[in-house]
């Protein structure tokens, strides 16, 4: 199992529970949606998986490492094997697309020439090769999200987390983004998507875990027709 949560609880001070007794297992190569309304605990769950937050109780294991007990350095090492995509893209505005995409490779201390070659190949794969030296503000939302996906995938991660990746995009762009995530999954990346885009979840008909008020209220292998 690539991700395993057992009896995970997260309580924000003073007594605000965000997740309650969560049990979830994700296998290598899975494509899984975490669905739920705003405040259901999707983002908190992703924060726990990334090691940005620590669980109040229970075990959060990602890529075989207990994130609750991992040191700062160990979390950094785990994150190098994880790609992440955000709703607001989080691209660095003062850097070119190529520099944005290169960032995870630079952190892995790869050689400059290798970094450039691979980053350009990734931008090419996402249809943005000719804009490699442009800056993010000159791009549309859909293009920026594709750059963010390129950045998440350029390091060949084992795991990809996407937090509302189509939240700021129209339907057409959302389809393109999900298509890219499916391609990444087909290439062997385990993909976890937190989303409240039920139409897209139904259309893709892949495993979906539904959260409500911090609890798992449903785990569907094929959610089509459940609604």
């Amino acid at each position: 199992m690539i991700v395993s949560l057992q009896g995970v609880e997260k309580v924000y001070p003073p007594h605000q529970p965000a997740l309650r007794k969560l049990n979830l297992h994700i296998n290598e190569g899975d494509f899984i949606f975490i669905a739920g309304a705003s405040g259901a605990g999707k983002s908190t769950l992703l924060k726990l998986l990334l090691g940005s937050e620590r669980a109040s109780s229970g075990t959060v294991a990602v890529l075989g490492k207990n994130m609750s007990q991992a040191s700062e350095f160990e979390i950094a090492q785990i994150r190098k094997r994880i790609g992440i995509v955000f709703q607001d893209f989080r691209l660095l505005k003062r850097k070119t697309l190529l520099e944005n995409v290169s960032l995870p490779l630079e952190l892995r201390n790869y050689k400059k020439k290798d970094i450039e070659t691979r980053s350009l190949a990734m931008l090419d794969a996402l249809g943005l090769r000719e804009r490699a030296y442009d800056y993010p503000p000159t791009l549309s939302g859909g293009e920026q999200q594709r750059v963010a996906i390129a950045r998440a995938l350029v390091g060949k991660p084992d795991l990809l987390f996407a937090d509302e990746p189509t939240g700021n995009l129209d339907t057409h762009m959302s389809r393109i983004v999900f298509n890219l995530l499916l391609e990444a999954n087909a290439a062997g990346v385990t993909v976890v998507v937190a989303s409240h885009n039920l139409a897209m979840i139904e259309e893709l008909n892949l495993r979906t875990v539904v959260l409500d008020k911090g609890e798992i209220v449903g785990d569907f292998e094929q959610p089509k027709g459940v609604r």
Binding site: R79, L107, A187
Partner: protein, 314 residues
């Protein structure tokens, strides 16, 4: 199924399969990249760099001037004669009987009893009086017998004055507080206040460096946040900031040292040399090395503490 985007592009799967596992750089190469990137980073934040540079140069120049003048003062005060003395005037017609008592006092270095006749002889030698005038002086104005006592330092003069004043034959005790004693006192207070001020300046420079690291981290917080989510360890975030700050510090210190040397050179040709204060740049250099070590320790400590309190990102 979802339709593919209209624009032709290579499939991600194909790209994925084509990219080999890249060889990682060793730590040496990583450090070299950090240093190489420093110039670019400082150029981008040139306003902050310039401000830091000017303030560090000004403060360090001030500091170096202080240290140089202080070391000059120290050397000058060491050259001053150390002995201080007191003069006991004996009542007319009486003789000094406290020789044995003076010998027992540990702080008395030496003493000399000058008789009335001997005193007058010395006086006449000094002013070259004619023999008849000298004879008249001996008759009409006999000089009192005196005792000149030399002690090790100013602080013992008070004790000596008390001890001599208690003797019945002693009319008065004149403390010979020379200009040297006064100069030594002035120098001592200048050195004390200068040392305190230098220490304050050191901490101001250290504070500036720490702040510049923190400001660099604050200005780049978006980048740091993304970098940390992509797997940046503290080392990756910290090293560039520390290296940049240290480069600015070193350049600032050198500019400060050059300016202070030029300033001191001008001064040393003027009133400082007339006052017997020679300037040496050796002490400031040693002091500069100590300053660098302190600044490095403070800035690194502050930054590590800052980062530890800001673990991860949301």
């Amino acid at each position: 199924m979802i339709p593919a985007p209209k624009k032709e592009r290579p499939n991600l799967l194909a790209v994925w399969g084509a990219v080999p596992r890249l060889p990682e750089q060793d730590s040496k190469e990583f450090l070299s990249e950090v240093f190489k990137g420093s110039f670019r980073r400082l150029k981008v934040a040139w306003v902050a760099t310039l401000c830091s540079l000017v303030s560090i140069a000004a403060l360090s120049a001030l500091l170096f001037c202080f240290v140089s003048v202080l070391s000059g003062l120290k050397a000058a005060s060491e050259r001053l004669p150390e002995d201080v003395s007191a003069l006991a005037v004996i009542r007319e017609g009486e003789k000094f009987n406290g020789e044995e008592a003076l010998k027992k006092l540990s702080f008395v270095r030496s003493f000399e009893v000058v008789s009335s006749e001997e005193g007058l002889n010395r006086f006449s030698t000094a002013v070259t009086l004619p023999s008849d005038t000298l004879e008249n002086l001996k008759k009409d104005n006999p000089l009192p017998e005196t005792v000149r006592i030399t002690v090790a330092s100013d602080t013992e003069l008070t004790d000596l004055k008390g001890a001599l004043g208690a003797l019945p034959e002693v009319e008065e005790v004149l403390v010979d507080e020379t200009m040297f004693t006064f100069a030594r006192k002035v120098m001592r207070s200048v050195r004390t206040s200068g040392t305190i001020l230098s220490l304050v300046l050191v901490f101001i420079v250290a504070f500036l460096i720490s702040m510049s690291v923190l400001v660099a981290l604050f200005l780049n917080r978006d980048e740091i946040e993304v970098a940390k989510l992509c797997g940046a360890a503290d080392r990756d975030v910290l090293l560039p900031s520390i290296v940049d700050s240290l480069i600015v510090l070193m350049i600032g210190l050198w500019i400060g040292a050059i300016f202070s040397a030029l300033f001191l050179k001008t001064l040393s040709g003027g009133f400082l040399s007339e006052a017997g204060i020679s300037i040496s740049l050796v002490s400031p250099l040693l002091f500069g090395i100590l300053l660098c070590a302190l600044v490095l320790a403070v800035s690194a400590g502050t930054t590590f503490a800052f980062l530890r309190s800001h673990r991860g990102t949301d």
